[in-house]
Subunit: 429 residues, 2 copies
């Protein structure tokens, strides 16, 4: 553990607003366009973006084994592929350079002008080129709620759920960063009581409150990642809104799973918060009963205490908080998900993304989707502007935020915010 | 239509063995390592591989708008992204240069020595970097057989099947070219009559006889590809063995679909046969009843008459033909699959791959998987060496072949051949 970098008493010479998600102890990684329209890899302290490509050219990473162009790229994939030891060396060096007592860059105005940007000068991009994206289904509360609504209330959990971190493959091509608007999907649905499907805009567009983790390349095809090594191959996490169309999903998903109901869009927060930064917030997950099979067994604390919030902001009005949850509720850990995913020899690459599945807590205000919060649309949510929501309306913006907080420090993800545009209308093209 | 390039009477100055899949009318595209270990894009006539990167450097594609390095790449993605007009210009030019009457390259020994390779001098690679891979489920016979075996024999087809080209997302990272051996997966299964799952090597590893098509980038996120345009965005096809572990699948797939049962490996034939080469083998598909929704309706002939065969070759013995099928049996066309996939605005990129789903014909010897051929293991297949197969044994090689044939010409895919290795044993690592 890089203790100095996580030292809660450390201050930066960059100003950090109170309650910022990005103190000097965070040091997330992202990709952005600079004011000169150059793409670079960067980090963030407070509300200042830091150009790591420029820092590297100016020699600030001397002594760390990095290729010259490692940060002058449009994705973090190559850097992530360098492995955990390198991630730590870079993160520790960044902490050192921006430490309030370190004058080297602090007192070099010329270098500061090259390296530092205000947030309004940059445009955040997708941080990784996602080869494969997998979504898990690892919240017991969510799986139980879904089972109660759509299957048998008395046997809500399916027989495999307590034995397997259930997951399925998703679509990489439509994962977009915060700020990119998303279109309501058109598709087939089966109206209640009918036998013939109809076509049109989904009437039940929903968010799913998730996190996702990003992997490095870890195994050869045909070989598993043992559970005790799995955490070493997780670079960091983002917030993840797995946009879903419930009516399309209901008609299409048997027997091969959700497809068009999910693959029209997923939105992520643009800064990847490293597992090293999240280390102080490691907690024990829920007790697992029955005990999983040996390849999924782990001792110790493998959950993370991350506060999560979802708000809906109708156009031109203030937002309404609709859910408050926590990542620590997840039944299956990220290490268990990764060990399971690879136990059959499935190859994992640098930049692959794995979603948690909807994160629902134990109380009704902690559910991670409108489907659960409104119980299938039966109990609409009152918005501050006086309107009601069963699902997401056109031009609503869904905002998810996440942060860890203890007595000494707050480490956060910022937000993933995305507006739902009306459905595409072919006749108006 | 490039009539000259498809003219069945055209001969090449390169020798083409009788019954070759690769006459001068085929001109498939692939990626290979040359004898100098240089990676290049190439084509094939008879048993001669042709280095398109070298041809381009030597000026053979002058006048066609191509970047200098378009063929000196480790994937076809950029070339495919250039679009149909460019594919045709290149394919027509290749036909012209290798026409028996064209002396330019034929009589230039120096150039021939640079451009031409025998097959044993090269090593075929994956032809595209696959961003996203989707697998459909579009054979009515296959879906019916599965429904009979696992659900209700009297209502074998699920209610959505005749309305939707059902599909689901798969894993790109484990798609490998012909010749790469594949490991039997380990995983969780639920023994018959038990309530607790066990862990170990799958006992029911199966092939799935499929084809797959490769797309170009065709739409903006949020916009659909209309069905009448869909074929323009399909570059070509390969043979596809969607390796499957039936026992793992059975335990894991409800409710989100197959995951570890499929993502350990899929194998493809390395030469992409273009839709232009397949054009003479266009036929009408099965009548669709009920009529699909308007966004899936099409007139005319959108199926292709492609003969398909599967053989199993136990180690050190001859192969046994176990299935003879045809791609023309598919209920849903590739154009319908692509229109459906994007009707919700899902973005499709260059190099994306879409599998047909298991291709089963109407007769018992035309089923596209061991599960169907042996009816769940009940009717083992007799092999020429006297052994029997319910599923695939360790060290068996599964070979799929595909070709179109009419009175005048044969256009084929070659083969996808892959050996099943024993399961990974952690204790021996």
């Amino acid at each position: 553990m890089p203790d100095i970098t996580n030292d809660p008493l450390r201050k930066s010479w960059i100003d950090v607003p109170e309650n910022s998600d990005f103190p000097i102890q965070n040091i997330p990684f992202g990709v952005f366009l600079t004011r000169e329209d150059i793409i670079t890899i960067g980090t963030r302290i407070g509300d200042t973006a830091i150009d790591l490509g420029a820092m590297h050219q100016l020699g600030y990473f001397d002594g760390i084994p990095l290729t010259d162009d490692i940060f002058l790229q449009d994705s973090l994939n190559d850097f992530i592929s360098d492995g955990k030891k390198t991630w730590r060396l870079v993160r520790n060096r960044i902490g050192d350079i921006f430490d309030s007592t370190n004058p080297v860059l602090r007192d070099n105005e010329n270098h500061r002008n090259i390296i530092l940007f205000s947030l309004d000068e940059i445009e955040m991009q997708l941080p990784v080129q996602i080869g494969d994206y997998t979504d898990f289904y690892s919240s017991k509360e969510h799986a139980t709620n879904v089972g109660k609504m759509f299957r048998d209330p008395d046997n809500a959990l399916l027989p495999n759920w307590l034995h397997i971190p259930v997951g399925y493959h998703g679509r990489s091509s439509t994962i977009v960063p915060s700020g990119v608007a998303v279109r309501r999907p058109n598709g087939q649905t089966l109206p209640v009581g009918e036998t013939q499907p109809v076509f049109g805009p989904s009437q039940r567009v929903d968010f799913e409150l998730e996190t996702a983790f990003i992997t490095t390349d870890a195994n050869l095809m045909g070989e598993p990642i043992p559970i005790e090594e799995a955490e070493d191959y997780i670079f960091g996490m983002v917030l993840f809104n797995d946009w879903s169309a419930r009516d399309i999903q209901k008609w299409e998903y048997v027997p091969l799973g959700p497809f068009l109901a999910k693959n029209f869009a997923s939105s992520i927060s643009p800064w990847i918060v490293t597992m090293d930064a999240l280390e102080p917030f490691r907690v024990k997950g829920p007790k697992q009963d029955p005990q999983p099979l040996p390849y999924l067994q782990q001792e110790g604390a493998h959950a993370f205490d991350i506060n999560l919030e979802v708000s809906i902001q109708p156009e031109n009005t203030e937002e309404t908080l609709v859910s408050t949850s926590n990542f620590k509720y997840m039944y299956w850990s990220m290490a268990q998900q990764l060990a399971h995913h690879t136990v059959n020899g499935c190859r994992v690459n640098s930049g692959d993304m794995m979603g948690s599945g909807t994160i629902s807590g134990p109380t009704e205000d902690s559910y991670g989707s409108m489907m659960e919060l409104t119980w299938g649309g039966k109990n609409p949510i009152k918005m501050k502007d006086g309107t009601e929501r069963k699902f997401i309306n056109d031009n609503d913006t869904v905002i998810m935020r996440g942060y860890c907080q203890n007595d000494e420090i707050r480490i956060g993800f910022g937000e993933v915010s995305s507006k739902l545009l009306p459905a595409f209308d072919s006749s108006q093209k």
